[in-house]
């Protein structure tokens, strides 16, 4: 019991962070599933969502600011895809990835310009940011809310993909991009929809993430972004349940490592995990094996 009460805070923080990574990871895994592109800008979209919340909450009440954040983030995700990725649809994959890195660089510099390089205080969202006590552990309510919220959102997303027409189109596009085009699927709207869903979830993730971490800086999105990507690879890229499970595992192990006093290596662990997974099971937990055609 003593052990539990000592480690429970880390475990809870891990589950909570894991849920937030999961929301970001879904954006990576869906985009990669369809476009075979590591969307390097995704972590920065997550950061921009945080900044929008900071500025929106200074001029309007929170219950208006939250929907605004969601809308603005979705619009940014949509615009990024249309401007930076769509013109390169037939270009080599490397060009698209470079474009993604360019967008990431642009968003970070834009954030630097707007904030003046100072960390911005994230507003306290009433109810979500309240302090509560669970099993003798004092924490913010967001820690407890995150896991069920993630599960609800993922369930909704899986329903969308399995049951609706656009979901079917997404599955077809991720199976075979060109054939699905020939079958009459409007590939551009499918891709836009993917980015919209991904950005929406990243915005929700940012609301939860920053409620715990209070400060928004221009480079704050890079690390969670990379970790979420690792989670997506770990779970098998293209698989949504895989990304969610991977994210929880990474979030929990990271916080356990922090709890053991190895904070320096909590980031390093994630990448070590990535390399181990890629070497021993490159398709991840739930991924499908891809065969290279010669």
């Amino acid at each position: 019991m003593d052990w539990l009460s000592k480690n429970l805070p880390y475990l809870m923080a891990g589950i909570s962070v894991g849920g937030q990574y999961a929301l970001i990871a879904i954006g990576y895994t869906m985009v990669y599933g369809i476009l075979r592109l590591i969307n390097f800008a995704h972590g920065d979209i997550f950061m921009v969502a945080g900044l929008v919340m900071v500025y929106a909450s200074t001029v309007m009440p929170v219950y208006l600011a939250i929907p605004l954040v969601l809308v603005v983030t979705v619009v940014i995700g949509f615009v990024v895809e249309r401007v930076a990725y769509k013109p390169l649809r037939s270009a080599p994959r490397m060009s698209v990835m470079i474009s993604a890195i360019g967008v990431s660089y642009l968003l970070q510099n834009l954030a630097l310009y707007v904030t003046g390089g100072l960390a911005q205080q994230y507003p306290a969202i009433p109810w979500i940011s309240d302090t509560i006590t669970v099993f003798g552990v004092t924490t913010k309510r967001v820690t407890v809310i995150t896991p069920p919220l993630v599960i609800v959102l993922v369930a909704a997303l899986v329903m969308l993909i399995q049951k609706t027409k656009i979901g079917m189109a997404m599955r077809a596009a991720s199976k075979d991009f060109e054939t699905s085009q020939l079958m009459g699927i409007r590939i551009n709207s499918v891709i836009s929809m993917t980015f919209i869903i991904g950005s929406f979830l990243a915005a929700v993730g940012s609301l939860l993430f920053f409620s715990n971490y209070t400060g928004v800086t221009p480079t704050v999105g890079a690390m969670p972004g990379l970790k979420a990507f690792v989670a997506a690879v770990f779970g098998g890229i293209g698989s949504i349940p895989g990304a969610v499970i991977g994210a929880f595992i990474i979030g929990i192990s990271e916080n356990i490592i922090k709890g053991l006093g190895w904070t320096t290596f909590s980031d390093a662990f994630t990448f070590a995990l990535l390399i181990v997974v890629l070497i021993f099971k490159p398709t991840g937990l739930f991924g499908e094996a891809a065969n290279d055609k010669v």
Binding site: R36, L37, I38, V83, A84, P87, L88, A91, R93, M94, S95, M97, I98, S99, I101, G102, V103, S104, Y105, L106, Q108, N109, L110, L112, Y113, G116, G117, T219, A222, M223, L226, F229, V230, V233, T264, F265, D267, A268, T270, F271, A272, L274, I275, L278, I279, P282, V294
Partner: protein, 359 residues
């Protein structure tokens, strides 16, 4: 044009460049912005070429350059801080572990070698990965290196997250040009050797290259280690140029900048990388600097201009290049004396039309 004349003209041009620099240093005060950008440009040219060796010539999409630069910079700093300064620099770690100082040039070479050793070890697992997975794994390793170098327990060696400073450095811009020029020349020699041809074969088609008897693992490892060696050397030069270093400088944004330089210059063009690194540095550090300060023309305050605007404009320019001029400045061509000669005299047009690059 004969091959001999071409070589002669090239050497003469390089000599002329060095003489011009030598004279400029005597004429213009050394604090001038010109020398700052020239030094930094030379350093970035080296690291961009080293990245081009991997990304452009071997087709390995690696994003670990900043990590290897960090290794090089730290090796240089740690090995060259004079013994009597160590107590001061390593004030939190009782003067540090190492109690000797090497000659700067020797330290630069060792910096490259240590970076190469790191690359060899990292390459063992990482080089099995393909395209974008390789990119993420190398990016991850660069982050791990950064975290480890800031680790408190390694403090006696790396000074933890504190600055390394007070090490010797060369002030003359000639040194940076010479060092970086020699390294780039070595890379060019490598690319023109049989190894270089094997690299290009791997880039164009791994399966075909393997079928032709090229040992993929061996050649990829060589490209990775050599590229990291020169990244380490450029890290050491950067440390020298900056007079103090800290691990937190070498973020992934640095790798992105180098990658963008390579892209702007043309992936697969050495001279392109050199030209674009000077352009990149001159634009970002010097010519666009006016965007960062407020400007009032006749009582009218120009909007948007304030600190940070330069980088925004700059990244927009980069996006335009990435989207609309995917070939970069040089594409895969090289800038050469022969190329110019042919351009002027109109010779070799036919050969160019046939698809041959003007080498």
């Amino acid at each position: 044009m004969k091959k001999q004349t071409e070589a002669f003209v090239s050497v003469a041009l390089i000599a002329a460049l060095l003489i011009v620099l030598f004279v400029l240093e005597r004429v213009i005060p050394s604090t001038s912005m010109l020398f700052t950008v020239l030094k930094k440009g030379a350093i970035y040219a080296l690291v961009a070429v080293s990245m081009n060796l991997l990304n452009g010539f071997t087709g390995l999409f690696s994003l670990g350059q900043a990590g290897f630069m960090l290794v090089g910079a730290y090796t240089y700093g740690v090995l060259t801080i004079p013994v009597d300064q160590r107590a001061n620099v390593y004030m939190y770690y009782d003067g540090g572990l190492i109690q000797f100082a090497l000659h700067p040039i020797l330290a630069i070479v060792i910096a490259g070698i240590i970076a190469g050793i790191f690359a060899y070890l990292i390459g063992l697992p990482v080089l099995r990965l393909k395209s974008d997975y390789l990119a993420i794994a190398t990016l991850g390793f660069a982050e791990i290196i950064r975290a480890v170098f800031q680790w408190d327990k390694l403090g006696p060696l790396t000074n933890g997250s504190n600055l390394l400073r007070n090490y010797p450095s060369y002030k003359s811009v000639l040194f940076y040009f010479a060092a970086s020029g020699v390294c780039i020349a070595l890379i060019v020699l490598l690319i023109n050797s049989t190894y270089g041809r094997a690299f290009k074969a791997i880039r164009d088609d791994e399966v075909a290259a393997e079928a032709m008897g090229i040992n993929l693992a061996h050649h990829k490892r060589i490209a990775f280690v050599v590229s990291s060696f020169f990244a380490g050397v450029s890290g050491a030069l950067l440390a020298m140029y900056q007079t103090s270093i800290q691990a937190s400088m070498f973020k992934s944004a640095m790798t992105y900048e180098i990658l963008l330089i390579v892209v702007i210059g043309g992936i697969g063009s050495i001279t392109g990388s050199c030209i674009s690194s000077f352009l990149f540095i001159i634009l970002s550090e010097w010519l666009l600097r006016f965007l960062d300060s407020e400007l009032v023309i006749g009582g009218f305050k120009v909007p948007l201009l304030r600190s940070g605007f330069r980088k925004v404009v700059f990244s927009i320019i980069i996006m335009i290049i990435v989207l609309f001029f995917r070939q970069g400045i040089m594409g895969t061509k090289e800038f050469s004396v022969r190329g110019i000669y042919n351009r002027i005299t109109g010779k070799g047009r036919k050969a160019q039309k046939g698809g041959a690059a003007d080498e």
